[in-house]
């Protein structure tokens, strides 16, 4: 699964550590999600959605969708 986390984070000039603190996970987890190595759970995806005020499907998408 691909995502736009890195873009959304960069738009706000946040570091991975900033984002990690905001959603209560480790920086390593943010890094793994951004690189597509780890797919977050639905609760964590909702946290990203609320934080960026963006629908989940606009943050996470299947590679075949775009």
């Amino acid at each position: 699964m691909k995502n736009r986390l890195k873009v959304l984070r960069a738009e706000r000039d946040w570091t991975q550590a900033n984002l990690a603190d905001a959603v209560d996970v480790s920086r390593q987890t943010i890094n793994a999600i951004e690189k597509g190595k780890f797919d977050p759970s639905l609760p964590l995806a909702f946290k990203f959605s609320r934080l960026f005020n963006t629908p989940i499907e606009a943050i996470f998408f299947d590679e075949g969708d775009r």
Binding site: A20, D21, D24, V25, S26, Q28, T29, N31, A32, K37, F38, P40, S41, L44
Partner: protein
């Protein structure tokens, strides 16, 4: 993630693990030294060892629950690998002992070392995989 909470749980786990190791060493030393005497002391040390071990297990559970979902996944995979390695190698080790394929008796402590190393390397490999 709740970095302070994770650090606090890790420190608690480290302290109780150290306490368990010390109580294990004390119980073993007394049991070895006084094989035929001091029954009450030996029993007390074994009970203390079990109680501290129980607390250590609870601290480990809290430590795991305080980790985030990726860290929990890494630990879960490490536990699965460790369980498999221990069962398979442990049984092979036992069969080798029964068949006298090596000198000496099978030692349970070797299995503990194997478990520790298997868990440690699984965590390291799992962590590197998600970097």
């Amino acid at each position: 993630m709740g970095c302070n909470r994770t650090k606090k749980n890790t420190l608690g786990l480290a302290l109780w693990t150290a306490a368990w190791l010390i109580s294990t060493a004390a119980a073993t030393a007394v049991a070895t030294t006084y094989a035929e005497e001091h029954y009450g002391l030996k029993l007390a040390l074994v009970i203390i060892n079990l109680v501290i071990g129980g607390v250590m297990i609870e601290m480990n559970r809290r430590h795991i629950m305080a980790l985030d979902e990726l860290q929990q996944k890494i630990h879960l995979q490490a536990m699965g690998i460790t369980l498999g390695v221990t069962v398979i190698v442990g049984l092979a080790y036992n069969i080798a002992d029964i068949g006298n394929l090596y000198a000496g008796d099978a030692e349970f402590s070797y299995l503990l070392i194997l478990m520790s190393l298997s868990y440690l390397f699984s965590i390291i490999i799992g962590t590197r995989r998600y970097q």
